[in-house]
């Protein structure tokens, strides 16, 4: 029965993924009907504008939302498992903000010297920031064992990083921060194919690695003591947790800025959908779920108040924050 439910749940996610992806491609300031999209794919479409919009704007953006959304949910899932805390995630723990800080620094101070910054450099700097914030979170986790305190600490780290980022932005030249402003609020706009290629390589590699770790992760769910008794190499697994979740969070922040709540909301929803939390199912399911969630939120961000575009975090917060509240209330009752 469980197997049927898993198959059904994967089917639901797959259908939703296709559906949201298609909607993202056809809906926008210029509406491109599905028939035209297929024409353009086939290389027959005549309309140059539509073709450009599709290839240069919509498709890379859709692909990025799908890849980064998956990465975000997966990063959240890893952090929740690692800290045994259902409301951990890259955003609430301040990891995204740490990455944002270093990327902002890079953009402001390097932009004057080099013409353009490559995706790899962006990611590297975001990764450094993410690890830095993660380091602080880990130190805190050693001192406090309470779930709520860890989160409060993470949020504080996030605020500190954001404040420093704001200071940097305030004192930077306007020309340096043309893109910085949009980006620092979180957005999938302006993503190029080159970005997509780089992020896909990194995110898919990380996701595959995580999937290969699903057995030790499933042992880790019972707590470190039992995991060790089952023969898990705890030190190695902890390092993997930290590096992989930071890596994923860094990818997202480097390209889309900090995106809130996806990391918490999606794993929670996916667990309800599957009725289990087995890592071997959760890892691919969270990825798919994150893709669907981000595609859906990006669609709303772009279209709801068009031509004004909302930041992606605004939309994800609207859907994600209530879920966090629900989780907290449930925990309280248990």
């Amino acid at each position: 029965m469980r197997r049927t439910r898993a198959v059904f749940a994967f089917a639901v996610l797959a259908v939703l993924l296709v559906l949201t992806a298609v909607l993202n491609v056809i809906i926008g300031s210029v509406r491109i009907p599905l028939a035209d999209v297929l024409e353009i794919f086939a290389g027959r479409g005549a309309d140059v504008t539509a073709r450009t919009i599709l290839w240069q704007i919509r498709l890379p953006r859709t692909a990025a939302a799908a890849v980064l959304g998956g990465a975000l949910a997966l990063s959240g899932y890893l952090l929740q498992t690692f800290f045994h805390n259902p409301i951990a995630g890259p955003f609430v723990l301040g990891i995204s903000s740490g990455a944002k800080l270093t990327v902002a620094l890079l953009l402001v101070f390097a932009a004057r010297r080099v013409a353009s910054i490559s995706s790899a450099v962006m990611i590297a700097s975001a990764f450094a920031g993410a690890l830095l914030a993660m380091g602080f979170v880990l130190i805190m986790a050693r001192v406090v064992d309470k779930m709520s305190m860890l989160i409060v600490g993470g949020v504080m780290i996030g605020y500190i990083c954001s404040a420093v980022t704001d200071i940097i932005v305030t004192f930077a030249d306007d020309s340096d921060i043309v893109n910085l402003h949009n980006w620092s609020r979180g957005s999938f706009s302006g993503i190029t194919w080159e970005n997509v290629a780089v992020m896909s390589v990194l995110v898919f590699a990380a996701a595959l690695f995580i999937f290969l770790l699903s057995k030790p992760i499933s042992a880790y769910r019972l707590g470190e003591m039992y995991a060790q008794n089952m023969g898990v190499n705890l030190k190695l697994l902890r390092v993997c947790f930290v590096l992989l979740s930071s890596m994923l969070a860094a990818c997202i922040t480097a390209f889309a800025g900090p995106v809130s709540f996806v990391g918490i909301a999606v794993p929670h929803l996916v667990k309800r959908l599957f009725g289990t939390a087995k890592p071997i199912l959760m890892i691919p399911a969270c990825f798919l779920g994150g893709s669907v969630f981000c595609l859906f939120c990006d669609l709303l961000a772009r279209t709801l108040f068009a031509p004004t575009e909302m930041s992606i975090s605004t939309v994800t917060a609207v859907f994600g924050a209530p879920i966090v509240i629900i989780i907290l209330l449930r925990k309280q009752r248990a």
């Binding site: 003591m225 008794n229 939390a277």
Partner: protein, 365 residues
């Protein structure tokens, strides 16, 4: 020591900055139960975690089947040794069957997918521990007693030679304590398991253990069979008891003896006096009692609570001397309570004491 299946040599345990216990030499055979007793915070858990390999050893060696444990690979060790810890598991959407199945971890492949044989082992373990009835319920929603049994089934399903349990009966009520320990005993016997656990319940420890380790505040004080450990007044020393008393033969505990000179003389014996002793204790009345054979059930209670006591070895006659001292004690008391009317052939002195007391004006039945 080297004859034991599991044994330690010069073992020192603790944390990098603080050694908790030094020079531990303990051992257990297959099919035997070894229990750690001792005051809270003395380091029972530390010893267990060190044997299990959760804590780095400060010094010394743990041998399993004559092999240094640190030389055994993680995988092989996980097939030899399983654990049940006190800390409550925070599981998420896991049924009891899922939790038990995690015991198969060391036997599954790259992705941890259970094969038919693994599934069968899971079902067998659940049947053995009698938890099949609630196998599909959420682990987070069952009772503490059930949860502890699930954890035991999980440990069994790991097919170990050794099981370590840290205070497995802590959250359980008396019914579940007995059920759990009985299961554990059966497992040890049938599966030839070496069981090493810590227990708070001294009475149960005395009964279930083949060997006992006494973990004191500073060192492992004693290691031996229950007979060797439960010697008079030792538990008071081990636990630093200053209030009340503990009797090693019955494992009975009594509150503090009422202070002062005895005001009441109680004629007790043949298990007739215990409740009277305790009633006087509750009112804070000091009392004297006699004449008790040392194998009488009243004797340990009287020893703990009576200010003055006339007693006699189980294999001796009472004799006129003891009778005289009992009469003298009674005459100094303000009142007398007789708890019994019938006396055996071998205690004519008690009958005489009874008749003497009845003639006293302060006599109460």
């Amino acid at each position: 020591m080297a004859d034991y299946y599991v044994y330690t040599q010069n073992l020192s345990v603790g944390y990098p900055k603080k050694t908790v216990l030094e020079n531990i030499a303990i051992g257990v055979n297959r099919g035997e139960i070894l229990t750690l007793i001792g005051p809270n915070g003395a380091g029972k858990s530390t010893v267990l975690k060190s044997i299990a390999g959760q804590l780095k050893l400060i010094a010394g060696t743990v041998y399993i089947d004559k092999t240094d444990r640190s030389l055994i690979s993680k995988k092989v060790l996980s097939q030899k040794l399983s654990v049940v810890f006190t800390q409550r598991l925070r599981t998420e959407l896991m049924t009891c069957r899922d939790v038990v199945a995690t015991g198969r971890y060391p036997y599954t492949g790259r992705f941890g997918i259970l094969c038919a044989k693994d599934r069968q082992k899971v079902e067998e373990a659940m049947a053995l521990i009698r938890i099949t009835a609630f196998a599909d319920e959420d682990f987070a929603k069952i009772s503490d007693g059930q949860r502890q049994r699930v954890m035991l089934a999980r440990a069994i399903c790991q097919e170990p030679d050794i099981i370590l349990l840290d205070e497995p009966t802590s959250y359980l009520d008396i019914r579940h304590k007995l059920e759990f320990l009985q299961l554990l005993q059966n497992m040890a016997r049938e599966k030839k398991l070496s069981v090493i656990m810590s227990l708070h319940e001294l009475d149960l420890a005395k009964k279930i253990s083949d060997r006992i380790i006494c973990v004191g505040e500073h060192c492992v004080e004693r290691f031996g069979t229950p007979q060797e450990i439960f010697r008079e007044n030792y538990m008071k020393t081990l636990f630093g008891v200053t209030t009340g008393s503990f009797d090693e033969t019955t494992c009975g505990m009594e509150l503090e003896m009422p202070k002062g000179e005895p005001k009441v003389f109680v004629l007790a014996g043949a298990a007739s006096g215990q409740e009277t002793f305790r009633r006087l204790q509750r009112r804070g009345v000091a009392f004297a009692t006699g004449i008790l054979f040392e194998n009488d059930m009243d004797y340990p209670v009287a020893k703990a609570l009576a200010a003055k006591l006339v007693n006699v070895k189980a294999t001796q006659r009472i004799g006129m001397e003891r009778l005289a001292s009992a009469k003298e004690l009674a005459s100094k008391c303000e009142s007398v309570i007789c708890c019994r009317e019938h006396f055996a052939d071998w205690e004519p002195e008690n009958r005489e004491l009874y008749e003497y007391l009845q003639r006293k004006p302060s006599y109460r039945g």
